[in-house]
């Protein structure tokens, strides 16, 4: 069960009023915090995107009244996605392709690993889980740094491919190779998929699967018609949990390629945040990502807050 599924199951079990003023009193600080530092900042982004730019200092001037909002900055970004001056289009398309590809590869890798760990590993389970959890507390940057070292021109990967000097391999892995960026994304995020899948597969009732085989289903049929349908919500949740953070990723591409040839939408945001006068543009790109992410985000919350998903 993933974190949110568990939370969703926390339902009242008593009709008795339990210290009715106590609940609000305890919850209010957290609610105020979330309103002030989570919801309000998103409104500030809107006010800046639809605000003005100071003509002299090139700083963003937020406009708070929605009636005075000026959509020119948002239109500027939208008009540059497709067409003759579509400078943002390729990066957006690339983001979609990279994220889909990396998500698919993650699933192909994570499902067998999670399945083996949850159902077949026996007494090695604890140790295996500990190793699978390791990427959670090893810093993402450290793991990328490890690959930067390995993929140098004279690094271990090239030496491995040259088979001890038999071939002369001089691939420049770190200069805008889409393969490296996609594999880097998989390397970085696959652990976030394995754990929810593990939790889901661990809860599958063994007896149902045995019944499927006993009733004559083949190996594939029982997998396809029993195992997969039973853990479909888990798979959806795991894929979303992995792919949503990838949408805002810019550091993987920066670390492993540092080339505009593999720039994703995160790189566009990062570049414009750091250049003066483009604050509104960065905000517009943020809103764009938010618009794309909002449907899967609420779908994830809904899938995980439906109590019957888990059981």
């Amino acid at each position: 069960m993933t974190l949110t599924e568990v939370a969703a199951q926390a339902k009242p079990q008593s009709k008795r009023a339990r210290g009715s003023a106590l609940g609000p009193a305890l919850a209010v600080p957290g609610i105020i915090w979330l309103l002030l530092f989570f919801l309000a900042p998103l409104y500030v982004v809107l006010a800046i995107v639809f605000g003005r730019t100071d003509p002299i200092f090139r700083t963003a001037v937020p406009v708070w009244n929605p009636l005075q909002w000026n959509p020119s900055q948002f239109n500027y970004v939208l008009s540059r996605i497709v067409g003759d001056n579509g400078i943002f289009g390729p990066a957006l398309l690339r983001t979609a392709i990279y994220v889909l590809l990396a998500g698919l590869l993650c699933l192909l890798l994570a499902f067998p690993v999670a399945y083996y760990t949850a159902r077949l590993s026996g007494r090695w389970k604890g140790l295996l889980l500990a190793a699978l959890i390791a990427p959670f507390w090893i810093s993402y940057m450290m793991r990328m740094l490890a690959w930067v070292n390995l993929l140098q021109d004279d690094g271990l990967v090239n030496r491995l491919f040259s088979l001890g000097g038999v071939f002369d391999v001089r691939t420049h892995w770190l200069t805008g190779q889409p393969v490296v960026v996609v594999l880097g994304l998989v390397y970085g995020y696959v652990a976030y998929m394995i754990l929810p899948l593990y939790a889901g597969l661990d809860r599958l009732p063994q007896s149902t699967l045995e019944a499927a085989r006993d009733l004559g289903a083949s190996r594939f049929a029982s997998f396809w018609r029993v195992t997969l349908p039973m853990c479909r919500p888990t798979i959806v949740a795991a894929v979303l949990l992995t792919c949503l953070p990838m949408l805002g990723d810019y550091f993987t591409s920066d670390m492993l390629s540092a080339s505009p040839k593999t720039a994703m939408v995160g790189n566009l945001i990062n570049d414009s945040v750091q250049s003066p006068g483009q604050t509104g543009q960065a905000g517009a790109l943020v809103m764009l990502v938010l618009l794309v992410a909002v449907v899967p985000m609420f779908y994830y919350v809904r899938v995980t807050t439906r109590g019957d998903v888990a059981s």
Binding site: A10, L22, L109
Partner: protein
Amino acid sequence: MRGPVAWWNDPWRPPRFLVAVTFGYLAWSLIPVLIAVLFSFNDGRSRTVWQGFSTRWYFGDPVKSVWHDAALHTALLQTLKLGVITTLITVPLGVMFAIGIDRWRGRLPAGANLLMLVSFVLPEVLLAVALLFVVTSLPLPIKLGTSAQVLGLVTFQIAYPAVLVRARLATIGTQYEEAAQDLGASPIAALRRVTLPMLLPAIFASTVLVFADVIDDFVLVRYLSGNSSTEPVSVKIYNTARAAPTPALNALATLLLFAALLAITVGYLVYRRMTRGDNAAAGGIAAFAGEA
């Protein structure tokens, strides 16, 4: 010698393919990091050619080692500082939020719960840019640097303790607290002397998880750091990884790795002690990681 058909139909044959994928994945996921750790002990400047064992990049080198290079050890201290401060704020806030939401019915708490769950899956860069705009374009007393970083990190992490504590509340049920109140305890006394002790394992687990997650954070802390003196380790790695660094960078990353490993190991051992003989919480490592 069996034929391939008999082999295929044998329900008890060892799952060789799954074993290969699993251990292949583990090797792929852990060996690069181990190599990076190994090269932090390299005697030369190279991060690709082994030149003998030394600890010069930790404290031997008088200029560029982690111990002597101010830029590197301030980063490490900043990371640990952020970890401690954020954890101290996030955990009480999240625990109170979870208990409060759990015993407050209505639209408002349901909406707050939704908000908390959304903050859990929102791409981090969106929150980071939004908070950067808030801090830089509003006349607030908060400046870029440690205070802004803590603010952002608490917002991003609050879902961890909230979700873990709500899960634990669901397994505890209400009967213990009701019994306490039937025996004459006030609601606050029942909460403090019955529920809170039972929640301790979940609170403790979320403390360790928040700390481990904060010291790995990159996106928020980078945007909200004012200048290089408030840049933590992850940002330092990002800034220098592609610009001909020395193995001192590997050493810095390794020190952070050991800090996280220490926190997780100690945390797990204490957690196991706390939940000994408690079936509801004894989910092993998986429960500890919040995947009960």
